[in-house]
């Protein structure tokens, strides 16, 4: 019952490393996108993801993978997706609408970053980087690569002027 416990790893002798790891535990104030991340990390997250991209406003682009991941839609279409998603988010009467609005918004922002070298949001670059990375970590592989690439681009953007 009382087995000797191993001592902590050598890397944890460094206080900076321990603090950096401890900081990862902070959740901070809950953001709207956290609900989307939670939903996508559920056991049926992949099915939910498919369902979400198969409905308006994302499906209005045609094949969402071709349009957004492979960048076959123009700037007008990306801006239209962003605006339609914002409207859906504002007028949402249930979680399904709200989450689809959020997804559409961030997918449009990611497509503009990755394929058009445009930043179409006023969010801070750090916040955008975090959100896109978080979404990438709970998305199916093809989308994870797309959102991950957008997260890296967001991190390298100049900070928007207030």
């Amino acid at each position: 019952m009382f087995n000797p416990q191993p001592l902590p790893n050598e890397s944890l002798q460094n206080r900076e490393t321990v603090s950096r790891l401890l900081q990862l535990g902070i959740s901070g104030p809950r953001r709207p996108v956290d609900a989307l991340v939670e939903r996508l990390s559920a056991a049926d997250g992949v099915a939910y993801f498919r369902q979400m991209i198969g409905r308006a406003p994302i499906k209005n682009l045609g094949d969402p993978e071709v349009a957004l991941v492979h960048g076959r839609c123009d700037e007008v279409a990306v801006d239209r997706l962003k605006e339609a998603s914002k409207r859906l988010l504002q007028d949402a009467i249930n979680d399904t609408d709200r989450l689809a609005g959020l997804a559409g918004y961030f997918f449009a922002v990611a497509a503009a970053l990755v394929h058009q070298d445009r930043n179409i949001t006023s969010r801070s670059t750090q916040e955008l980087h975090e959100v896109l990375l978080e979404l990438a970590s709970v998305s199916p592989p093809v989308w994870a690569r797309f959102l991950g690439a957008a997260a890296v681009k967001a991190r390298d953007l100049p900070t928007p002027k207030k």
Partner: protein, 221 residues
């Protein structure tokens, strides 16, 4: 004694486990031994009683003696102290017992009844050791979670980046993937680590606000 940095709280997880019977009690004991072994060892190494024996032996002896006692956790609840403070108080009593026992057995000269003293700030040292221990436990759990879900590579990237400070670019070129992919994979493993860390802190804090707990612990690092 200085005022506790953290509010005195009663812990719901420990109470729930104890109510659940023997299985729950074993679960609590396992948790206490894995999380508090290192802080108690650190404390022992700084005390005037270091001569009593090897730290591993002394701390394991303390666990074997105290965790088996029926009212041990009830007394802790009654004390209103944070668990690690309570354990240190109990450990000091245990050290005195070992001191007397050694004297009775003729393995030590006459013993005084001086309280156990510590070189430096014991609370700070114990708190720091507690953080290291909790982070280590969270890493062990997250490693296991990743292994079960075939995410070993994700964990490897997380560990290289966060523990060894290797950049995503270097990891990516080593693994022949792109840096964005490496960052996403580390984030996936990081989610497991975060959930394990918060779960461990919730068990000991009982203060539902884990963020505040982490902020307070960061202050002492």
């Amino acid at each position: 004694m200085k005022e506790d940095v953290f509010p005195a709280t009663l812990n719901t997880w420990i109470r729930d486990q104890l109510v659940a019977g023997d299985l729950g009690r074993s679960e609590v004991n396992r948790h206490i031994m894995s999380v508090y072994f290192f802080p108690l060892r650190t404390y022992f190494l700084g005390t005037s009683e270091r001569w009593l024996g090897e730290p591993e032996e002394i701390v394991q002896g303390f666990f074997a003696d105290r965790l088996a006692r029926e009212g041990f956790f009830t007394e802790w609840e009654r004390s209103g102290k944070r668990l690690r403070r309570w354990l240190i108080t109990a450990f000091n009593f245990y050290l005195k017992e070992v001191r007397r026992r050694k004297w009775r057995d003729g393995r030590a000269g006459p013993v005084n009844e001086e309280p156990v003293s510590f070189k430096g700030d014991p609370e700070r040292e114990v708190d720091r050791a507690f953080v290291v221990s909790v982070v280590q436990q969270a890493m062990d759990r997250a490693t296991e979670m990743c292994r079960r879900e075939n995410l070993d590579r994700h964990w490897d990237i997380f560990e290289r980046h966060y523990c060894r400070g290797v950049s995503y670019n270097d990891i990516a070129s080593d693994l022949e993937i792109d840096a964005a992919r490496a960052a996403v994979m580390a984030r996936t493993a990081g989610r497991k680590f975060k959930s394990a860390l918060r779960d461990l802190l919730e068990k000991d804090a009982a203060n539902a606000d884990v963020d505040s707990e982490i902020m307070a612990l960061l202050e002492i690092m």
